[in-house]
Amino acid sequence: MSASVKLSLQVVAILVACVAVAVMPVAVDLFQLMQFTLFASMAVLALSLGFIWGFGGILCFGQTAFFGLGAYAYAVAAINFGDSTPAILLAIIVPALFALALGYFVFYGRISDVYLGVITLTVTLILFNVFNSMAGDAYKIGTARLGGFNGMPAVPTFNMPFDPSSVLFPEQSWYVTGGALIAIYIGLRLILRSPFGRVAIAVRENETRASLLGYDPRAIKLGVFVLGGAIAGFGGALYVNWGAFVGPTIFSLSLSAEIIIWICIGGLGTLIGPIVGCFIIEYLISQIGSQQSFNSNLVLGAILIVFVLLLPKGLVPTIRLLLEGAGRLATKGRGQAPNAAPDLSAGQPVGAE
């Protein structure tokens, strides 16, 4: 697909997503709106791993570590300050610093890719155990009790910037969460077009060649990793805003695995893919959960197997290939592609809502 077609498809996708975010509160009932708010916060997490894995070539099995740290940092800060504004900032900064320390150790220690997966997984398990065991009055940060396995209930949700008295309504929370998702998508797109993003992709393509040209792969990967940690942390704050609660299960392995499934299904190496995958899977899980007739893990496993066997590239790259094929046919024929292409492409972001 030519660069200009790609760009216009991306612009169309963004516009459709903006419209969808805007009209959602009138289109669905409150319960569904809350669900979509949850999915959008998860999609931020999906985007963070989709970026570092798909474009940085870093497969992190413990992206929930940053998500969870962001969530806890938000909760602790929001309880202490009574204002969500600095809490959101801390939810970005704390996981970013943690990613910086962990990434420095991993990338500058020349630890191989396989061990990177093992280490991030282990770190997530450690965090789970640490937060799980910090029950009792001894474990307080300021006025915030960490609550151990019970987690932290009644966390203040988002308020208007620097105005704790006006707490956001669910509709407003949806606008913030959906809007943040779109903003992060656009931000990552811009980064991928910047020199830093282009070099990051080059390092993913061929680390040796990149280093022989004078780029330090360790620094580039660390930058990508920290950015991913910051985004995941922000997703954690959005998640707490949705439920007003955070507990140690946020570090669970099943969530870590789910992110990888979202990306496999939506499409690795794309930014839309992880978002689409996240919405589809989370929607399915919630539907199955309300029916009680199937085990959701079983269904999830079956879906993953079907995708790995039949659509190994994932949804978005497959649709893209189909579009290219259709485009080529149309230019050979009577040139009806201009109608067909936008219709199909509009299907992606609609599916994402």
Binding site: N206, T208, A210, L212, L213, G214
Partner: protein, 246 residues
Amino acid sequence: MSTIPPLLETRGLTMRFGGVVANDDVNFALEEMELRCLIGPNGAGKSTFFKMLTGQLTPSEGRIRFRTYPIAGNLPHQIARLGIGIKTQIPNVFNGLSVRENIWLAAARAARRDASTIRAKAIVDDVLERIMLPHLAEAIVGQLSHGQRQWVEIGTVLAAEPELILLDEPAAGMTDEETVRTAEIIREINKNRALIVVEHDMEFIKMIAKKVTVFHQGRIMMEDSVDAVLADSRVRDVYLGKKVAA
């Protein structure tokens, strides 16, 4: 006796892989602006020598000096930034990216030295012209022929504007026509840069060479003019079966 210090100098350079001694006490010197050819039978240690010069391998023993910098054991990107560029034996390109993006990545790094982004674009266009691939600028490198990929890699090396260029078998897999063009490019580069070229193809060597260094079993066996080397009986012996016939 020249009073100008060599551009590149190695002292007692040795690389051992377990019991295999791939480079054994190599003492080598290259003048500014020199074009040197490196020949030797398979397994003689030529590529290993290049890998140590570019930081892909840390020497077991010995020193390497580039200008005034001791570089043995430095990391590849540090050495690249000092101004050594390499085309490796096994093509090392960004297969998933376009030809233009490959060249741009090299040019952007070079242009960063004098903080100019306009210059990066000028370098890209110039290099595309020199490697004769402007018509394939938007093609994905992984889909090109082996010879074309070799040129893309040579293009990335040129675009990085290094002081010293190492080419490990640049003509391998090229057609006769492409080989002649490669020799031309090498002579052109040599007008203002130093090069070391590893090649097996003696016809190619004769097209470009001035001074030739012969590697054998990890050591420098001989170092002389092209004609003297090709006439040497020991060189004929180690190249037994290869087309050395001068």
